[in-house]
Symmetry: C2
Subunit: 245 residues, 2 copies
DNA sequence: TCATTTTTTGAATCAGGTTCAATATTTGCA
DNA sequence: TGCAAATATTGAACCTGATTCAAAAAATGA
């Protein structure tokens, strides 16, 4: 009998509904206002049932983050499958992240919170393990692009591992997601259009690595075209009218 | 009569003691375990008195962060006053941050948490304003170094403002502080010595900007010497045996 | 010295996360 | 199909810890 299997599937579906409901509530009223009882109620279950799925509120938050990260991995995957010069692929990863941030504005806000000691340590070990597992492919995709570039001669490795070479791009992207959500900080210096600046800086970093072919990111039309190229080639389904500004 | 003045000073001193005690507790038992009542008790005051200074627990956290940021500004200030080529000064900012992170390992962990929507929005507006005010000089110092470099011809501005040019360094540094505190993430890829990698990537970014004089960060002995030079020139009082590894 | 103002106190209040005994549902078997 | 055992759901009670505020203490100043 497929009863065992059906049970498992229904349980997973319910978990998914809880995650969705929680995400909605966060988008609606903010992280601050998220309440376990409300999440359960909004799915027509009692509080206790929610605790069948998540060991604690923190555990739920981490789970939401992991689910979204899954989608982010899919964005990365598109880049990985793209037949294009390695340098363009590296750049496309940054574009992918920009689009992801645009599409799921709450993700990096949540992610910043979740990777905080307070939340992370309060989630179940099992959940943490799973979350890292979900995120891992992003690193592997980057690894493979860099390794391919080194093999091609597009970039020199100077005896470093692929991730050592590319960690600057990783941290720069991460840092920008953070800065964007640090209310008031960018305003302090009247900085506009942060992700556009990020993409420029990524290109500069790639130039610093002497990653061929070099590219001049201060050439605005060329930059816009490069961005649009990635959008059209990989994310045509979601960003048509995005980078025209 | 200087009574009014004395009152004010004593109040400020007490606030400082509260902040110190809270910081100690965080270092001791972690952010998670911080309790308002314990902070008050440890300074021999009642809970209510603590609330004379801080509108909420979040407000206290933001205040700790602001106080530490003050010290970070002092690190930046040393760099600002240093008579050295602009490129070395930019690099020195990153070194300063590395040393700061080493000296106050809890700062960036706390900072990540504090700039989270949940905490930031729960602090009093007055506190937020003050915190941004405290942080502002860091941006101004960076601004001035870049402006000087542009004036010198050490770097081209391509029509960008100083902070637009240098935001990559800012985000890269911020991102690395975050990554270092994201428990398990660096391990996932067996990445060691993150701040050393950060400094390498900062140099690559500066090369990408064509910031003169160019420098090869893959030349390990030259890198070490550069780092030691900054330590000795600016932070001799705190990092003698640090970057020898 | 004492009425008034200011400050401190900590027990009471409150919010919301978490638990768990009671209840309902499902399963497996005769 | 009926029924005992196993499993799942429920939500009110519990608990922790932040926050409040009436009462008490201390400072002020005339």
């Amino acid at each position: 009998m497929g009863t065992r299997e059906r049970k498992r599937r229904e349980f997973a579906e319910r978990e998914h509904r809880f995650l969705d409901a929680a995400r909605d509530q966060i988008c609606q009223d903010g992280l601050l206002a998220l309440q376990m009882a409300k999440v359960a109620r909004s799915c027509d279950y009692a509080t206790g049932t929610l605790y069948q799925h998540f060991a604690s509120k923190e555990d739920l938050l981490v789970a939401i983050c992991a689910e979204m990260a899954q989608t982010r991995v899919e964005f990365f995957q598109r880049v990985a499958n793209w037949k294009a010069p390695t340098r363009d692929k590296m750049f496309a990863l940054a574009v992918a992240d920009m689009l992801f941030a645009h599409r799921y504005p709450e993700h990096f806000r949540l992610s910043q919170f979740v990777f905080t000691e307070v939340i992370w340590e309060a989630a179940s070990p099992e959940r943490r393990r799973n979350t890292l597992e979900v995120c891992k492919p992003m690193g592997l995709i980057v690894h493979d692009i860099v390794a391919e570039a080194v093999a091609n001669g597009d970039v020199q490795d100077h005896g470093r591992t692929p991730l050592e070479l590319s960690i600057g791009q990783w941290t720069m992207t991460l840092g920008m997601h953070n800065l964007v959500h640090a209310e008031g900080v960018l305003d302090l210096y009247e900085l506009k259009d942060p992700y556009r600046m990020m993409l420029t800086q990524i290109q500069l970093l790639l130039n610093g690595l002497q990653w061929r072919p070099l590219f001049d990111p201060f050439d605005e039309p060329a930059m816009s075209e490069k961005i649009n190229h990635v959008c059209n080639a990989l994310f045509g389904d979601m960003c048509t009218a995005k980078e025209q500004r």
